[in-house]
C-alpha cells in the first residue's frame, strides 16, 4: 500500500512540522473506498497541497485544489507538469510530480505511464498531465496530439488562462480573436484554438471544455476523465482559469469572470465516446463515481 511511503520515521516525529504530521494523519487520501474522494472532505482534512505561491485569488490555484481533491487514488497518481504558473505550485504538492521541459509533458507522461504498467502490472497507477494553454496547445501541440493518436492511457488537464501569464502576458493559441496581449498589440488575428474538439478528433475518449467556477463540476470531470483513461484511452479537460493579473482583475473577481465564461465563451462541452460512456455507467453502478 503506497500510503506507507508517506509515513513519518518514528524517530523524527517529534521534530516534524505540523503540516507533515497532518499529512500522515488526516490527509485526503483515498482511505475510504466506499465513497469517491471529493470536495466535501476539504474543510475537515489536510489537502494534498501545502500553500501555493501564486497570486492571491488565482483561479488556477483554486482549480488545482479541486483537481487534487478529486483524484481517485492520489497515492498512486503521478502528475506531469510543464513550465508556467502551474509549475510554481508543484513543489508544494505531496505527490510524485515531474516538471520536465516546456511542451514535452505528454511525451514524458507517455513514457512514465507505459513503464509503470510494465513494472507494476497488478497495480492501478494513474498518470495525469497538468499544464497551461501555452504548453498544451502551442509548444506542446505535437506531443499532446500524438499522445492522443497513440491512445496513451493518460489524462491531460489544461489550465486555460488564454495567455502566457508567467512570462508577462503574451498571446497564446488559446487567446480569443481580437484580444490584445503582448506580441499581439493590434489584437490576435486568428480564432482561439478549439483544443477540446481537436482532442476529440485526435482520439480522446472523453473531452470537456469548462470553467473552474464550480468546484464539484471540476471534481466530477476530473474523476470521470481519470477513470476513462484507466481502461479506455486518453482523456482531456480544458478548464478556463483566467489570469486575473493579466486581464486587470482584483483577487476576488476571478470567480465572477469564470461564471461569465460559463454563460458565453466556455459553455459546457462534453464529448464521451461510446466505449467510455459504457464504462462510466459501469463505474457509477460500482459506486466509483
Amino acid at each position: 500500500m503506497s500510503l506507507d511511503i508517506y509515513k513519518i520515521n518514528p524517530e523524527f516525529r517529534d521534530i516534524m512540522p505540523k503540516e507533515i504530521i497532518d499529512l500522515e494523519e488526516n490527509a485526503t487520501w483515498a482511505q475510504n473506498q466506499d465513497k469517491p474522494r471529493g470536495i466535501k472532505e476539504l474543510p475537515q482534512t489536510k489537502e494534498l497541497i501545502e500553500e501555493h505561491s501564486l497570486c492571491a485569488g488565482c483561479p488556477e490555484a483554486a482549480t488545482l485544489r479541486y483537481v487534487l481533491s478529486a483524484l481517485p487514488k492520489p497515492e498512486e497518481t503521478v502528475i506531469v507538469n510543464s513550465t508556467g504558473c502551474t509549475s510554481l505550485m508543484f513543489p508544494h504538492i505531496a505527490l510524485h510530480t515531474v516538471h520536465s521541459l516546456f511542451g514535452n509533458q505528454n511525451s514524458v507522461a507517455s513514457g512514465i505511464k507505459r513503464v509503470l504498467e510494465w513494472r507494476f502490472p497488478d497495480k492501478q497507477k494513474d498518470v495525469v498531465v497538468l499544464a497551461g494553454d501555452g504548453a498544451t496547445v502551442d509548444i506542446g501541440l505535437d506531443y499532446t496530439l500524438q499522445s492522443f493518436f497513440r491512445q496513451e492511457k493518460i489524462t491531460t488537464i489544461c489550465f486555460d488562462n488564454e495567455v502566457y501569464a508567467n512570462t508577462g502576458g503574451q498571446e497564446s493559441g488559446m487567446t480569443a480573436k481580437g484580444q490584445v496581449f503582448k506580441m499581439a498589440p493590434t489584437g490576435k488575428k486568428f480564432e482561439k484554438v478549439p483544443m477540446w474538439e481537436l482532442a476529440k478528433t485526435s482520439g480522446c475518449h472523453y473531452s470537456v471544455n469548462m470553467t473552474g467556477s464550480a468546484p464539484k463540476a471540476v471534481a466530477k470531470a476530473v474523476r470521470e476523465a481519470i477513470l476513462v483513461a484507466r481502461e479506455i484511452g486518453p482523456t482531456f479537460l480544458n478548464i478556463y482559469t483566467p489570469c486575473i493579473l493579466e486581464i486587470g482583475l482584483s483577487a476576488n473577481e476571478g470567480l465572477g469572470e469564470m461564471k461569465a465564461g460559463d454563460k458565453h465563451r466556455f459553455e459546457f462541452y462534453r464529448h464521451v465516446s461510446p466505449e467510455a460512456e459504457e464504462y462510466l455507467k459501469k463505474c457509477k453502478e460500482e459506486g466509483l463515481l
Binding site: G168, L245, E246, G248
Partner: protein
C-alpha cells in the same frame, strides 16, 4: 572621501515599485551628468515575492553588471525583507562597504545589537523610518512609498538635484514605457487614482521632495559624509 562610483542595492517586494525606483534613480543621475545603469533581478513576477533592483552611478563609465553583491547603499523597501528573509542576501546588509548607507522602510527598529556592531565598525549609517506611512500622508497612497525612498536616497547623496529627479519621474510616467504585465497593471491602478497624469507626477515629486529634505537634515545630524563625488560638468 567621496567615491567616483557607487552601487545601490534595493531589496523590495514585488509590487512596491523598486524596479521603477532604480530606473528613476539612474535616469535622474544620468540627467545630472553622471554615468548610470539600472537593472532588476527577480524570479517569477509576483506580488510580495522578493524583487531586487540595482542602480550604479558614477563619474566614470560603469562596466559592472548583474547583482550588486558589494553595495555602498542598501535600501530596504519593506520590513519583510528583513523579518521574513525575502532577500537574496543574508543578512540583508551582506557585502555593504565602509562608509556606506542603509535606508530601511519600517516603523520600528529591526536591527539586532549584533547587526549594529557590524555596521558601526564599517561606519555605515542607518536610517529607519516608516516611509509607507509617510507616503500615505504626502501622496494619499502607499504606492508612493518608492517615491519617498527615492527622495530619501537623493537627500542623502546630495549631488542629484530636484530638477533632475523631476526629469526622472516624468521620463518614467509620461513617456511610453515597456512594462511587464504586473507593472502595467499597477501603472493603470495608480493612474486611475489621479484625475490627470500631471497630478500624479506632482504628488510623486512632492513626496520625493519632502523625503529628500528630511533625509538631508538627518544626514547632517548623524554626520554622514558625502558618498559620491559631484558629476564632472
Amino acid at each position: 572621501m567621496a567615491k567616483d562610483s557607487i552601487k545601490i542595492r534595493m531589496p523590495a517586494l514585488g509590487g512596491q515599485g523598486a524596479v521603477t525606483a532604480a530606473h528613476i534613480a539612474a535616469t535622474a543621475a544620468d540627467t545630472e551628468g553622471y554615468y548610470a545603469v539600472s537593472n532588476p533581478f527577480f524570479g517569477a513576477e509576483k506580488r510580495m515575492a522578493p524583487s531586487e533592483s540595482y542602480a550604479r552611478i558614477g563619474t566614470v563609465p560603469i562596466y559592472d553588471r548583474g547583482e550588486v553583491i558589494y553595495p555602498d547603499i542598501v535600501m530596504i523597501y519593506h520590513p519583510q525583507v528583513i523579518t521574513m528573509g525575502k532577500s537574496y542576501t543574508m543578512p540583508f546588509y551582506a557585502g555593504v562597504k565602509e562608509n556606506g548607507l542603509i535606508i530601511i522602510n519600517s516603523e520600528r527598529d529591526l536591527l539586532t545589537a549584533h547587526d549594529k556592531k557590524i555596521l558601526d565598525d564599517l561606519n555605515v549609517k542607518v536610517l529607519t523610518k516608516d516611509f509607507t506611512e509617510f507616503a500615505i500622508q504626502e501622496a494619499g497612497t502607499e504606492l508612493a512609498t518608492n517615491m519617498a525612498m527615492l527622495g530619501s536616497l537623493f537627500g542623502a547623496l546630495g549631488t542629484i538635484s530636484k530638477p533632475a529627479i523631476e526629469e526622472g519621474i516624468k521620463d518614467r510616467f509620461l513617456k511610453k514605457y515597456t512594462a511587464s504585465g504586473g507593472t502595467a497593471t499597477l501603472d493603470s491602478v495608480i493612474e486611475k487614482k489621479f484625475k490627470k497624469k500631471m497630478d500624479l507626477i506632482q504628488k510623486n515629486l512632492d513626496t520625493a521632495s519632502a523625503a529628500f529634505d528630511l533625509t538631508a537634515e538627518w544626514a547632517d545630524q548623524v554626520g554622514l559624509e558625502q558618498i559620491l563625488e559631484a558629476p564632472k560638468k
